[in-house]
Each structure stands twice: as C-alpha cells, then as structure tokens.
Symmetry: C2
Subunit: 160 residues, 2 copies
Amino acid sequence: MSTFLRTLDRMSATAGPAAPHRPTKLQLLELLAAIGTAQWRDFAAAAAHYGLTSTQARVLAELKGPVPMRGLATLLVCDASNVTGIVDRLEARGLVRREPSPVDRRVKNVVATDEGRDVIRRVREEMQATHGALDTLDEEEGATLYALLERLRPTMEKDA
Amino acid sequence: MSTFLRTLDRMSATAGPAAPHRPTKLQLLELLAAIGTAQWRDFAAAAAHYGLTSTQARVLAELKGPVPMRGLATLLVCDASNVTGIVDRLEARGLVRREPSPVDRRVKNVVATDEGRDVIRRVREEMQATHGALDTLDEEEGATLYALLERLRPTMEKDA
DNA sequence: CCAAGTACTTGATGAGATAAAACATCTGCG
DNA sequence: CGCAGATGTTTTATCTCATCAAGTACTTGG
C-alpha cells in the first residue's frame, strides 16, 4: 500500500501536465493495445533479421520437442491446413523436420533441426537485447505494474 | 503471439518460482505479452463479428478525422501501396470515403462515413464489454496503471 | 522552368488465413 | 470382428495483407 502511494507521488512529480489523472477504460485499452503492437513489431523485426516471418518464428519457438501438426494448429489458434504450408516452408529451409509418429500412423511430428534451434535461439537473444524499455522503471514501479497487470491477466485470457 | 509468450517464458526460466514483489524484466515482458495477445485476439474477434479484418478495424479506428493515404501507411507501419487495397475494401463497403485534399492535389484524404464510425464504435463497445477485466481496478489503480504504461510506450516504439 | 521529390496506384509475387473435400488411419460399439 | 464415425494431414480455391518495382500526377526549390 505504501508502495502504491509513493509510486503515485513519483508519478505526479514526473508526469507533467499532459498525463490524464482519470483514464477511461477505453484509454487504458488503447494504451495496452499500443504496447502490445510495439512488442509484436519487435518480435517480427528480430525474426525478419534471420529471414523468418513472425509466424515461422512462432512455430520454431514452440518446438521444444516433437509436436504433431494438429498440436501446432491448436497452439497457433488456426486451421490445421494452414500449418501444412508454414511447416513446408520451414522444412524447405532445413529448420524443421517431419517425422512419423511411432504410435499413430496418421500423425506427423514436427521437430526442430539443429539449425532451427540455433536460429530461434538467436532470435530470442535479439529480443532480450532490444527490450531495454523496462529499464526505465525502478524496482518499486516494476512491482506495482506487475501486480496490476497480474490482476488483469486471468480475466482477459478466458477466450484462449 | 502466444508463442512469443512462451518464448519469453522460457527466457526467464532461470528466475525460478515467481517472486511476485520483485518481478524480473522478463516476467514483466511475459505478462505484457500475455495481455497484449489476449487483447489482440479479442479485437480481431470483435472486428470479425462485424465482417472486418483486424487490419480494416485498425484503419477505421485511426480515422478520427481526414487522414491522407500516406499518413495511414505511416500509422500502420507498412508500404503505401498496401493501404490502397485496404481502403479500397473499406470504401467498397461504404465505411470510408476518399476525398481530394484541398491543399495538395496529389493527396487523397480518407474519412470514415457515418456507417464506418458506427461500426468501429460498436467494435470498441464489444471490446469493452468483453473486458470486464478492467472493472476490477478502482480509480486510483487505473490511473497508476495508465501512467506506468504510458512511460513504457515511447521507449518501446523506438525501433519503428 | 525544369529537375527532383512526393503521393498515390497498379501489377507481380508470396505468406498466411479459412473453407471444403479427399484420403488414410484410428476407435468404439453392436 | 467389422464397420461407422471421428481424427490427422494434405490439397485446392479464395481472400487479405505485405513487399517491391514501375508509372502517373502533382509540388517544390534552385
């Protein structure tokens, strides 16, 4: 609680005249959206640096172990037929391999190759380097933000 | 986007069990990404409910006044030739209008029609309705969250 | 006035998304 | 057991969105 108050104090000291003190729900939604898209663009840029589309990078990042095509579709929240093409392109570049499931002959498991693992590792590193954004928050502010966002999360994920 | 999440998750794997009062940078990023993802999917779903793609809805949302094609391209961070098609489709549905700029005959300003404004208003309402999440914050907490997020935004937009 | 720059469009190309349908395989129930 | 229905994958068609290259129309500054 005292953390809250001090955070507010610091904010009113640094916020300047432009900061609205009573944001509407809509303003908050728009701000969240703006930050979300900024993050997404960062991810896409890091992926592009290694010749990947963001979707391809997304798939590659999922492949910690073998994942069936259908499983990828579920993870990506998209149609299974869509995954075929994405994995085709990754496979053509040698970043990924299809192998038949030992337990179900209908299923093809997708596995990252060594090169695939290497590429996604580099994308991750680049993301970390890019995000100095949060360094502008001190420890208390970070804790405050985290606590507030965490309360938002469960309600917003209902549609997943 | 959900992979993006998991990627960040994996990146912060060394942090161990969550220490809620001292979140790491990566934990914060993960949380922001989680909320951003959920919100983006909600936005897309609300837009789809009115027969709009998320990109089309995004354009409509930008049209608070007349905006030149080139300006839209800048806002969307994409090629100008891309905007032509998006606005074509919106115009074909009567949600948007091109009108010549009075000051520069090269320029076409895009304006939302009454119907366009109505549709985007409904999309926004649907999002707000979906996100009772924000109702769990009281006024002070909302203001705190807004101020913190606002400080994050400019830093994250640096890379355009 | 004219060269260079800017705004927009067109056309080619490619990724990603969905829907419908084909095909092989698995599963459960009579 | 055997078959009907469900499931996993791919193909094909169609759309949107993204880029690049080129072309047209207009503006601007030397």
